[in-house]
Symmetry: D2
Subunit: 139 residues, 4 copies
């Protein structure tokens, strides 16, 4: 499954180079992840109510072209790796000319509310199955 | 008591007008409040460990001159009102020419960890007394 | 005219009290302003291309109830004052139970690209007329 | 050369997991870079006045332990790669127990004010020489 989010950059997200500041992209990734989980019927705040937390292990960003206020972007989110304890989300951002301007990914691990790692497949096999069915083979 | 914080604006805090974005100032106020409490021997995270939370009731900002990356500013924080349940912090920001470029204030209330209002004077008379002794008469 | 923006708080906008951090609201106001101008046929980036800049003179926020990740809010933006050189935008935020949780306003002035004040009515009478026709009498 | 920055996390940088949100680290990296350049006698805003811009090509973050409000961290910044057109900054963050909690790096390229790539060694051999003399061999 690929989820597409339309991004309207905020004026506050610009910097004095006149572009979207690079620290904003991980925030956009998070919007993509959250919406991806919504579409799967697993809203983040419901996941947190079950006592699960999503820990970020790593974030990677490649900047191809800069983004600007007043433009509209498409953020494409996929899950490209899944194991009992970890997942990898990947992100591709396109401008209105369908040019790829940015790529990123985050590796995440599942924790309990005490922030200890958990085996998602064991603890919540139903949730694991849903993520497994959404897995993309694209990367 | 007046507490002075030296502010070095972050590049990320600029916007495409080439100035510090107006939404940054409440974050600077918070730095002022946190340091003010540190100086009083009441670090925020210790206050939170006691089960107290600081709720923001209002924030007010007046912009006189814009602030810029590469400049250095002095943020002066005072407590100008105190009651059993509320406090008012005021902020004055000066540039390196000692010109006042910004004024603001926040009104805050004390809550317990369930986010219910509490009477600070009753619950923690020692903390109340410390804030009372730091009260400025300047505004 | 009243413009309504649907706000889905970002996880990144939460703080360790479990609520949306108070510094986020001026960013939401800006989204309301930007969309308001879009609806009027005056997109912000087009306004900036004409050499105009919008300077923030003041921001005022009243917090009634806290906002949370996972909830959806309606932000209602109005222009409630207009003169040759200044405008006042007001904001009301409602939760999904139609309860007012927040009110704010910003006073803004029009500048040229050298960040000097301009008389909008004189310089761009057409833009002034559009804002004038959108003026709300509600506050 | 290694430059060390003391980081006092801001309350606003926390999220509802009670940790510093992962999107904050690239902002801390930027503080490290800016101070690194200050120490070299090349303040960023002076570099920008010469018509140079620093473009971010990539950002990479590895999260080992989470960071918290109320704690103090040491951010160690190094330049670990340098060519005529690019540089690599690396970052190591330690907690007050001298444990490494985070590692990151950014790859940057030099641009002119029209945001076109430039050969720094050719255009500003003096600036290039200063960066070259600060190069670390550690990674």
């Amino acid at each position: 499954m690929t989820h597409t989010t339309t991004i309207h950059p905020r004026y506050q997200e610009t910097d004095q180079m006149g572009i979207i500041h690079h620290s904003v992209y991980p925030i956009w990734y998070e919007i993509g992840r959250v919406e991806f989980c919504d579409v799967l019927g697993l809203p983040f705040h419901k996941i947190e109510e079950k006592g699960l937390r999503l820990a970020i292990l790593s974030v990677h960003s490649q900047f191809i072209k800069s983004a600007h206020f007043g433009e509209v972007y498409q953020l494409k989110t996929n899950i490209t790796e899944l194991s009992k304890v970890r997942m990898k989300f990947t992100y591709d951002i396109y401008n209105s000319n369908h040019e790829l301007i940015h790529q990123g990914y985050t590796e995440v691990a599942w924790l309990n509310s005490a922030l200890r790692p958990v085996n998602l497949q064991k603890l919540y096999p139903d949730i694991y199955a849903i993520f497994d069915s959404s897995l993309s083979k694209i990367r």
